[in-house]
């Protein structure tokens, strides 16, 4: 595929569902009401680790309006993972719908279904539970010697390291060259420990699910999911309901960010509806979202890097990562592995490298997929270390970045060695605009005017810092998406895709990809997505895959349908196929003598001769995962008296290949950046000594509001990815990874203090000032 003039791609077409959303016409999951619908509420554990000795539900059951009270004795006990990943999932099977043992404050004890939510919640109070408390552990560094958290019979489908008795949810090791020799060859060696914290996705729409039987006796599930096809597979297995009897529909979704790549409500509504034959619904409260859905995995990383003083060559790099998986292990292997695999290839000329990663169980809330997915955790220390090395070398950080980052035509052994639960896939970088991102971003932030200037204003000192990043585009040789298209009598097309638009605009992007290839406009493409009965398979919205993988399927499908159209036109006009071209919904002969409109072509194909439906279907699997690249820059001001960091300006310069829709690209980067700034500065879980979340509300867990945001600039540095649909790569996740290191490096630029633990609260900044001494 090659770069060319585009008509539809590269244009900021309005999001096709935006007006319906803006006018409030759209129904989200929680908006669905049905006659006779039951409402579900959960009883949660007050203990971090305990065994249920006795559970008495009699009184609860007797409350008028209560229809069902379920405990671990009443539900299927199939072990599964809630991670909505491809099969076999690279996450341990360590979870039951309900279990006799509870593993964190907020773990499920019982399920109530009642005529109203209020009655269900009333009934919760009447359930009497006797617990035997067990030793618990909240510290990932003490996991190995602590009481076993996962069930005795927990297991892993993949042949990876999984040692439940040691609370080890996963571990990986990767090494090449000789790191020890590399360190002894170095002129200097730097070491540092970094730590990032728990955080919540905080999609404004809380998780919800609905189940009901349709008129043919099939069980339908509508849910706030990023992965409808994985939901169908997992629910079928967990409940033993034949897959053919299940239909999963994704309506509009109010944001996901990875939090809705988990399957933990669907099996519950399906079970309640299966048992009662009545529709049922569950909607999480904000508190439940914080405590009992999924979180960003906290991680500790240790970096050790050795370098040569004259050339700046990094002779050796060692990274150890310890991830806190929480009480269950969804994504425990892959998020941790990504801290290496999405980070370490960036400086690809390091000859001696070692990465060791461990994921451990604790009695704390459950981690899961979260935008950035391990890369966020890994890039903090990585970029700070690079900044430290550049300083030691006495060169500008940006020059250091530019000299050593991976370039077009190059590769890294890590691509091949480290994949998702198995070895990775080797690849050569076919597009890389990172140096341009660095240059343009530097200009926008005013790097050369502001760096090392430490401009003071009373107690406030300014600084600038930078970070460079890469991510991936889908999981190579694993993720698959498919598309189906048919042509209608007016020359419009139905495009059916399994791909899952969770607010990102993927329905629009995919319509653009199709319209471009066919030679028509987006308003002629009627998109229907994410319905396991009516759309072909797609793994879902995760791993920055939709534009690249599902887009690849749509492109192939559109190519086929274009061929079909030309075939009919050829028959109608009686000319060879290569004598024809398509422009704006009309087929012309190259000699300019004849033309026939799409409309005439379909009428002919449906009613006139050789009658048939013009249609096509295609699947696409990514053979590679071309990384998007980004350079992010923060200008900050630290108040050294109170320790407060204010971000003045933030610049993100991104190479996502060909931007299919520039406004949507900007939107992805802006949203990710602001989420990243919140994570860097404020967002954190506060636990008491039992691991109880003490700030499970928007009042106490602060996410950025419109007042908190600095000036934000996004620069698109366009490249062309030859393996991507119309040259595109992904863009959804990468922007969340840089704010932490860019801000940390800016703080160092301002006051000479290295921050190594997030969030960078005023207390932490003051403490660091005190312990490191301010160097102005």
């Amino acid at each position: 595929m090659e770069n060319r003039e585009f008509n539809v791609v590269g244009k900021s077409i309005k999001k096709i569902d935006a007006l319906a959303l803006a006018t409030g016409e759209v129904k989200f999951t929680a908006d669905i009401e049905m006659p006779g619908m039951l409402h579900i509420a959960f009883l949660y554990s007050p203990h971090p680790h305990a065994e249920i000795v006795d559970i008495d539900t009699e009184e609860a059951k007797n409350i008028p309006g209560v229809v069902l009270v379920l405990t671990y004795r009443d539900v299927p006990d199939t072990l599964h993972t809630t991670a909505g990943q491809g099969y076999p999932e690279p996450s341990p099977y360590d979870t039951r719908i309900l279990d006799k043992r509870v593993r964190f404050v907020g773990d499920r004890v019982a399920i109530v279904a009642a005529e109203t939510k209020e009655i269900a919640e009333e009934a919760l109070k009447k359930i009497k539970v006797k617990y035997r408390e067990l030793p618990y552990n909240l510290d990932p560094e003490k996991a190995e010697e602590s009481e076993q958290i996962p069930p005795e019979d927990a297991y892993h489908l993949l042949p990876t390291v999984y040692e439940p008795s040691k609370n080890l949810a996963a571990s990986v090791e990767l090494s090449f060259g000789d790191v020890e020799k590399g360190f002894s060859d170095a002129d200097f060696v730097l070491e540092e420990r970094f730590e990032v914290q728990y955080a919540n996705h905080c999609a404004i729409e809380p998780h919800a699910a609905v189940a009901f039987y349709d008129e043919r006796g099939r069980l339908n599930i509508i849910s706030t999911t990023q992965v409808p096809f994985h939901v169908r597979r997992i629910v079928s297995r967990v409940l033993g309901i034949p897959l053919k009897n299940l239909r999963v529909i994704k309506p509009r979704i109010g944001g996901g960010f990875g939090g809705k790549q988990e399957v933990f409500l669907e099996q519950v509504v399906a079970l309640v509806t299966y048992m009662t034959k009545r529709p049922s619904k569950v909607v999480f409260s904000r508190k439940e979202v914080f405590v009992s859905s999924r979180t960003r995995h906290p991680m500790i990383t240790w970096y050790k890097v050795g370098a040569k003083r004259d050339t700046g060559e990094i002779t050796s790099l060692y990274l150890k990562a310890l991830m806190n998986a929480g009480a269950y292990g969804p994504h425990a292997l892959t998020v941790m592995a990504n801290a290496g695999s999405k980070v370490l290839p960036l400086f690809n000329k390091i000859k001696n490298l070692k990465f060791e990663g461990f994921s451990v169980y604790t009695n704390l809330p459950v981690g899961g997929a979260y935008r950035g997915y391990g890369a966020t955790q890994g890039y903090f220390g990585y970029n700070v270390m690079l900044d430290m090395i550049a300083e030691k070398l006495g060169i500008d950080t940006l020059e250091f970045f530019k000299k050593w980052h991976i370039k077009k035509g190059e590769t890294s052994p890590i691509f091949e060695e480290l994949g998702e639960g198995k070895e990775g896939v080797s690849q050569i970088i076919r597009s890389c605009g990172l140096s341009e991102c660095i240059e343009k971003g530097a200009k926008a932030i005013g790097w050369y005017e502001k760096r090392r200037k430490r401009i003071k204003n009373g107690d406030k000192v300014r600084g600038v810092g930078a970070a460079i990043l890469m991510q991936g585009s889908g999981i190579p040789k694993i993720d698959m998406g498919a598309a189906y298209m048919k042509m209608n009598e007016d020359g419009s097309f139905n495009l059916h895709i399994g791909a899952t638009d969770i607010g990102t605009g993927s329905d629009t992007i995919l319509a653009q990809i199709a319209a471009e290839e066919i030679g028509t406009s987006v308003d002629k493409i009627i998109v229907y997505s994410s319905d396991t009965d009516f759309t072909p398979f797609d793994v879902g919205a995760y791993a920055s895959s939709t534009t690249y993988i599902s887009g690849g399927a749509v492109l192939k499908c559109a190519k086929k349908i274009r061929k079909e159209i030309l075939k009919v036109a050829q028959e109608m006009l009686n000319v060879p196929e290569d004598a024809l071209y398509i422009e704006n919904g009309t087929v012309y002969t190259r000699d300019g003598q004849q033309k026939v409109s799409f409309q005439d072509i379909v009428i002919y194909s449906l009613y006139t001769k050789n009658q048939h439906q013009i249609q096509a279907v295609a699947s696409h699997i990514g053979l590679e995962s071309p990384p998007p690249f980004m350079a992010q820059f923060a200008e900050i001001e630290v108040d050294i008296r109170i320790g407060r960091i204010e971000v003045i300006k933030f610049v993100s310069a991104v190479d996502c290949g060909k931007p299919i829709n520039p406004v949507l690209v900007e939107g992805q980067v802006e949203g990710a950046t602001v989420n990243g700034i919140g994570y860097a500065l404020w967002e954190d879980y506060v636990f008491d000594e039992k691991g109880r979340v003490k700030n499970a509300s928007f009042w106490d867990y602060k996410i950025p509001s419109i007042r908190d945001i600095p000036e934000i600039e996004v620069i698109i540095c366009e490249t062309y990815e030859p393996t991507g649909p119309h040259g595109a790569k992904s863009v959804a996740e990468i922007g969340i990874n840089g704010p932490i290191p860019a801000i940390a490096n800016a703080v160092y630029d301002a006051i000479g203090i290295r921050l190594t633990k997030t969030p960078f609260t005023p207390e932490r900044v003051l403490k660091a000032i005190k312990s490191q001494g301010i160097k102005l």
């Binding site: 900021s12 309005k14 999001k15 569902d17 935006a18 007006l19 319906a20 959303l21 803006a22 006018t23 409030g24 016409e25 759209v26 129904k27 989200f28 929680a30 908006d31 009401e33 996705h201 905080c202 999609a203 404004i204 729409e205 809380p206 509009r252 979704i253 109010g254 944001g255 960010f257 909607v283 409260s285 904000r286 969770i502 607010g503 990102t504 605009g505 406004v663 949507l664 900007e666 939107g667 802006e670 949203g671 990710a672 950046t673 602001v674 989420n675 509300s697 928007f698 009042w699 996410i703 950025p704 509001s705 419109i706 007042r707 945001i709 934000i712 996004v714």
Partner: protein, 156 residues
Amino acid sequence: MRGVFIINGQRKEIEFAPHKRLLDVLRENGYTEVKEGCREGECGACVVLLDGKPVNSCQVLAASVMEKEIITVRGLGTIHKPHPIEEAFVEAGAVQCGFCTPGMIISTYALLKENPDPEDDDIKRALDGNLCRCTGYVKITKAVKLASKKVKKDGK
């Protein structure tokens, strides 16, 4: 209890429990365009106009606003006849998942009624109570400015 509410210009007699919040009464009677994101008065997804003033409907006792005028986003425009503010949000790319959007639009409407030419600071003040996790607010600020132009032109 029973009470009359004037919702989007229509008088509605509604049966409801005395402790119900306005948000619940609206959603239970089909006004699901009013969203629930927190029930704590902190996210703004549930904002409606109450006698012309924006309020978090999750923080309002339904019984206290009987006979009052309530306007939701569907009272401003429809998909067939959108309000210029709704169009502005679409054109500016301010709608990603759209869950915060009805509340954002109502808050914007209230702002523009008071101040047809808002500066950045006015916008920040007026929308401070409306959380959005998708957009990073950049396009939302743009949308409000675009809306201000459109509303003036339309005289709405």
